[in-house]
């Protein structure tokens, strides 16, 4: 399988995520789209790692694959942490305004 | 003399003494005391400067007039200050002016006088620094620092539109200085390595910076605009009338008497030696601007109804001539400028004192509302007339010598500029005599009716000024001897 397909897929997912962030107004959904972006990146990293494994890079840098996969692991870790905080914030806001619409947030502007 | 056994030099004294005195002044609560304190310290500074004039000869007393300390070692900037002829002249002017100003305004009471006089003395320190700096970074420091106290003085104690006016002035000059800063850094980056650093800010290094003609051309403007704003040269002058109008008179005296000289000084000290060929390239433009400014300002002065604005515009006209004369690069012209820097300082301070008196007594500065002061306050009138005559450069007043030489220099540079600039001589007579006639002659009216003649302290100051006016009008030679070295050194850059 050529790497470009993976890249294509990952980038596609990433951009879909971006489009989601741009178009949706429900903060939860926006947040989910961001998660989608992260996953796209994860996929990309893994794919790259396997690409390197197949290439000369593997000789010079033995644990090139595991580096990337560990990185992905950490991304997931961070994502988890972020989610907890993020949802907490959203919930807090919902408590105060009974809405999760981001366009509702415009007390701060100019 | 051996530098070892000199423990302090004149430039240091001239800077540190006012600085310390000023800082001390902030903590003197009692108004009377702080006034006295300011006056005394100013007088001491004057004393120092007088003594320094005795030791002015740098061939003999070099180490009394020059000193340098490590400062930003690794940037190649040292705190080096010194007095050459021009430095002596202008520090002397500064030292002379402040006591006069303090005495003249001794009767005026300011809210939080301690702050006021503290700031005034700080200004003096800053000015001294500007006139003594031999390291361009140090120069820039003082250049900015001299303005800050003035900013506070004007916006705190000035007239009703003071805040905007002063703010305009500040932003205007600040912009100019920042442009200059870029220029300074650029030149610095093209200087030869110095001890501990790969470039140097010292005057000599800056003078010998290696720059391509194109670089010099735009750098010239970066510097010149900064100085032109300070002087001010047409068309950068519009801050001046407003500021002079709004600032408290004593500050206005500092501004117009000394601070404008900063610009002229800086042009002579930095632009001429650093960018000689750019000067050769642009001299026509600059002189044209200056000459236009002279005529323009004179014409406007004719139409001014507010005494302060009147003086402001007449000052712009005079400054224009100085700026033009600098760029003629003739010995006679430059000597004229040197002389005129001093003369103009003296005369305009006198002008302001008179204006201040009139405003104090009559409560107005409107020329149209005044009249007939002459027989209410004859002494004042006599002084005013003398100063006014100096203002129009009548022979045997100091201004004549300066203007005569500057015009001569200008003539040798270009006849037509001189011819046009000469018109300002006539216009000067027109507006000055108009003012004198409208304000002092004719019948007294309700406003000037209860005008009293001047008090002793003012009489004293004005007398001193008048003495200066005639003394230097008849015996200008000492000044030329003093500034000879500077002028000739600078001219060597154009050989």
């Amino acid at each position: 399988m050529e790497i470009q397909w993976y890249i294509g897929l990952a980038v596609a997912l990433f951009c879909i995520g971006i489009v989601g962030v741009l178009t949706r107004r429900n903060s939860i959904i926006i947040f989910m789209c961001i998660e989608l972006m992260l996953n796209a990146v994860n996929l990309l990293l893994v794919a790259f790692s396997k690409m390197h494994a197949a290439s000369v890079v593997a000789q010079s840098n033995p644990n090139v694959v595991s580096d990337a996969q560990i990185f992905v692991f950490f991304i997931m870790v961070v994502a988890a942490a972020e989610v907890s905080v993020g949802l907490a914030i959203i919930v807090m806001l919902y408590r105060n305004t009974h809405s999760v619409d981001v366009n509702f947030l415009n007390r701060l502007k100019n | 003399m051996d530098p070892k056994n000199i423990w302090i030099t004149f430039p240091e004294l001239l800077i540190w003494f006012p600085l310390v005195a000023g800082l001390a002044a902030f903590f003197i609560r009692k108004e009377k005391t702080v006034k006295a304190w300011a006056l005394i310290s100013a007088l001491i500074t004057l004393g120092i400067s007088v003594v320094s004039l005795v030791y002015a000869d740098n061939t003999k007393h070099f180490y009394l007039n020059n000193v340098s300390y490590y400062w930003l070692k690794y940037l190649g900037s040292n705190f080096s200050i010194g007095l050459d002829g021009m430095g002596h002249l202008l520090t002397a002017l500064t030292a002379v002016s402040f006591p006069l100003i303090f005495i003249a305004t001794y009767k005026t009471n300011y809210k939080n006088a301690n702050v006021f006089y503290g700031l005034m003395l700080l200004t003096q320190a800053g000015l001294m620094g500007v006139f003594t700096a031999l390291d361009i970074l140090v120069f820039y420091f003082f250049w900015e620092l001299a303005v800050i106290p003035v900013y506070f003085l004007c916006s705190r104690w000035g007239g009703e539109r003071r805040i905007q006016a002063t703010f305009k002035f500040f932003i205007y000059t600040f912009t100019g200085s920042l442009l200059m800063l870029v220029g300074i850094i650029y030149v610095y980056m093209h200087t030869v390595p110095a001890a501990f650093a790969d470039h140097s800010f010292s005057m000599n290094a800056i003078y010998s910076a290696v720059l391509s003609p194109t670089e010099k051309n735009w750098l010239f403007w970066l510097f010149f605009i900064a100085f032109a704003i300070k002087m001010p040269v047409f068309p950068f002058h519009t801050w001046q009338p407003d500021t002079y109008e709004q600032a408290p008179t004593s500050t206005t005296m500092v501004l117009s008497g000394i601070m404008v000289k900063m610009g002229i000084f800086a042009v002579i000290r930095w632009i001429l030696p650093i960018f000689p060929d750019a000067v050769l390239k642009f001299d026509n433009i600059v002189i044209a601007l200056s000459v236009i400014g002279m005529i323009y300002a004179s014409l406007i002065a004719i139409k001014q109804d507010d005494l302060k604005r009147f003086v402001a515009y007449s000052s712009i006209a005079h400054i224009g001539l100085m700026c033009a004369a600098i760029f003629t690069r003739t010995e006679i012209g430059l000597q004229g400028v040197m002389f005129q820097m001093f003369a103009h300082g003296i005369n305009i301070i006198g002008m302001w004192i008179v204006v201040d008196l009139i405003e104090k007594h009559t409560g107005t500065r409107k020329i149209s509302e005044l009249g007939g002061i002459a027989h209410k306050a004859p002494v004042l009138t006599i002084f005013l007339v003398v100063i006014a005559l100096a203002n129009i450069a009548l022979p045997l007043t100091n201004a004549f010598v300066g203007e005569f030489m500057m015009f001569t220099g200008l003539f040798t540079f270009n006849v037509w500029f001189t011819a046009v600039a000469g018109i300002s001589i006539i216009l000067a007579a027109v507006y000055t005599l108009n003012m004198v006639q409208k304000v002092f002659y004719g019948e007294a009216n309700s406003i000037t009716g209860n005008m009293q003649d001047i008090t002793l302290n003012q009489k004293l100051v004005l007398a001193v000024l008048v003495v200066f006016i005639f003394l230097f009008g008849v015996f200008p030679q000492p000044v030329f001897d003093l500034t000879k070295d500077t002028v000739l050194n600078i001219l060597t850059r154009f050989k």
Partner: protein, 167 residues
Amino acid sequence: MSITEILFWGLTILALFSAIMVVASKSPVHSILFLIVVFFAISGHYILLNAQFLAIVNIIVYAGAIMVLFLFVVMLMNLNAASEPKKNRLLQFAGLISGGCLFLVLIAAITKSSVATEMVQMGSGNDGLIKNLGMVLFKDYVIPFEISSVLFLSAMIGAVVIGKKTQ
């Protein structure tokens, strides 16, 4: 066309479709469910790439924990399609366009690159197995591993600080 490729394309299409659905679907609940599908598809890719550990973690952490959390919150707020307010058409359109442009730009950039056509090692290669990763993680990546604890602590505190009822 080998089985791997078929799987690849299948998963890809699935992932893309459900990703689009995540963005497009009205109700938040549906979005969440579609997102889970995406995660499963991605995990499938991981398996194809022989990164079992990540595949498992992805399922557990994302599809399991995180998404459930989301679902939970959404249920809690009982947001339904109606609660999605009127959209700003223009902004959406702009978003769509710019997102698309970004996609094109990135693709264009990558296809220019030399590595674009390099082959990816499928199925084989055991670096992605738990054993090796574990070794690496606790040998070379001990510092980040420890440090991430700080991250969790702060996240926890955050949840507490924000979640705690104030009287």
